[in-house]
């Protein structure tokens, strides 16, 4: 759990420290790599500026497109990550 919190904090810092013009519409931050994302109607989005944008800003950019919110139950590892694929 501590490691997850550290990653969340790092992600938040990275978002706040972005040097491009992209802005997020609220203070929520994305989850760490390999962690499940529950999303939801209140998930935030990025308003892309005229400069560059990261992959995560692009795929979560604000849009009028139809959204499908999913909340799957997954057999994740205890740390929230994906288990390795079977051999």
């Amino acid at each position: 759990m501590r490691s997850l919190m550290i990653i969340f904090a790092a992600a938040a810092l990275a978002a706040c420290g972005s040097s491009n013009n992209n802005t997020k519409n609220d203070a929520a931050v994305g989850p760490p790599i390999d962690a499940p994302m529950t999303g939801g109607p209140d998930a935030s989005c990025f308003t892309l500026g005229s400069g560059s944008a990261t992959n995560d800003e692009i795929i979560n950019a604000c849009t009028t497109a139809q959204k499908v919110y999913l909340t799957p139950t997954l057999p994740l590892l205890v740390d929230g990550g994906l288990p390795s694929l079977p051999q």
Binding site: G30, M37, N55, A65, Q66, K67, V68, P86
Partner: protein
């Protein structure tokens, strides 16, 4: 002004063996057809071949596309290592190939009638054009020979343009039988369904509902763009996919439509295949790793605008890479070598929306990019994101403007062709308030 050029008459169906317009022309020798260009391409490009082939066969400068389909990695290997189609080496092991007859041969033929057939010359043929429907690097090919041309490479380009990725973009989807309950799938769910499989998940006392039947998970074989594109997006190496391997897109479609347990069925196909079968199948919205919501390739489940592919919200897409062969000696006109066949280069260039002046062949008397759009592909000029390898991170993108040697944006025209455009229209008497007037639409640049 809202305009729409789309109509049901423009829906392009998968080729079927039935010919609604009468029997197909008799089998002829391929080398007797007008100016044949031999192509080995991915099976997702079948509709493009049928429709573009028909248009080129009726073009002022008549050209016959003669094609056979094979997995993308097979096509790349043929291109990089060499070989012939039909001689039992690296090319497709066939004795006949497909073509679209001209009006003079069959005036009533439609692409939905399916391809006509011609017989290969004895000993096979060296392909003039090859195609993969993903970044070539995904197949771990040998080094690209100097005699292979990939559009945009290795000129001073970046991102997708550096890797032959100028070609139209192709989306891949996960589909389920129409009428079942699933509406979307996350990358994590797909990782479990296709990486572990329902049987192994059950042994782990786990499941990903509703995909709990191992015999209802339909995949493609290793080496196909469809499988590799999905693997790159859900972090599953091709060799580790679990599921029932089908030999082609039509077989996946048949498996879904004929499923004995439709509520648990899921299969991977090209979006352009799905687009012709919306009454029977239902596309799943996909949520990528790190994404908040799942999206369809189009802005809504029922639209056809590929907006989410174009702006990055739908991540499972690849470029179609079109290749031809050169003498390998760079010149000022041809930094990648002079084409061995200007007709082959002409075909590659019109698909890639490139200038054809150097080929010495007049521009086609039809709109190639309209055909590209109508068969479910997205022209590069309508893209707003790019990547440089299969499943790689996206970055923002704009095709070069005419002043910089590019075609400029075609977003408005693309949207009008496939769905509805909200762009202003323009002509010589009605200039654009903003943007650039191009082909009747006020494009952004």
């Amino acid at each position: 002004m809202r305009t729409s050029l789309f109509s049901t008459a423009m829906v392009f169906a998968i080729a079927s063996s039935a010919n609604a317009s009468g029997p197909l022309p008799p089998v002829v020798a391929c080398d007797t057809l007008p100016d044949p260009v031999y192509i080995q391409c991915g099976d997702t490009q079948q509709n493009l071949m049928l429709n573009l082939g028909r248009a080129l066969s009726n073009n002022t400068t008549a050209i016959t596309l003669v094609w056979v389909t094979a997995p993308s990695c097979t096509n790349i290997n043929l291109t990089y290592v060499g070989g012939k189609i039909g001689d039992g080496s690296n090319g497709a092991n066939v004795t006949t190939m497909s073509y679209a007859p001209s009006n003079s041969v069959d005036a009533t033929w439609q692409p939905t009638d399916g391809a006509a057939t011609c017989s290969l010359p004895a000993g096979g043929v060296v392909p003039n054009v090859t195609n993969s429907a993903l970044y070539n690097s995904a197949c771990n090919p040998p080094a690209q020979p100097a005699t292979v041309y990939l559009a945009g490479s290795p000129a001073s380009q970046t991102g997708q343009n550096q890797t032959g990725g100028l070609g139209p973009k192709q989306a891949y989807v996960l589909a389920v039988p129409r009428g079942t309950t699933a509406t979307g799938i996350t990358a994590e769910e797909a990782y479990f369904v296709f990486g572990f499989g329902p049987t192994m998940l059950e042994a782990m006392s786990a499941s990903i509902a509703p995909w709990t039947d191992a015999m209802q998970v339909f995949i493609r074989k290793n080496g196909t763009s469809t499988l590799l594109a999905w693997g790159a997006n859900v972090q599953i190496p091709a060799s580790k996919f679990q599921g029932v391997q089908e030999s082609g897109s039509p077989q996946v479609v048949a498996a879904l439509e004929g499923s004995t347990n439709p509520g648990a069925a899921i299969g991977m196909i090209g979006a352009e295949v799905y687009d012709t079968l919306r009454a029977q199948l239902q596309v799943l919205a996909f949520r990528a790793f790190h994404q908040y919501a799942a999206y369809f390739p189009d802005s809504t489940e029922t639209s056809r605008d590929k907006k989410n592919l174009r702006d990055g919200h739908y991540t499972v897409w690849s470029p179609t890479v079109w290749m031809d062969f050169t003498d390998g000696t760079a010149t000022s006109d041809y930094p990648q070598g002079t084409p061995l066949s200007q007709t082959a280069r002409f075909v590659v260039d019109i698909i890639n929306n490139q200038d054809v002046t150097l080929t010495g062949i007049a521009p086609p008397d039809f709109d190639t990019q309209q055909i590209v759009a109508q068969v479910g592909l997205v022209p590069d000029c309508a893209m707003r994101v790019q990547r440089s390898f299969e499943g790689g991170p996206l970055s923002l993108y704009q095709v070069a403007a005419p002043a910089a040697g590019g075609p400029g944006s075609c977003t408005c025209k693309y949207e009008a062709t496939v769905d509805v455009s909200t762009c202003a229209t323009c002509d010589a008497n009605t200039p654009c308030a903003t943007g650039v007037c191009r082909e009747g639409y006020c494009e952004e640049y």
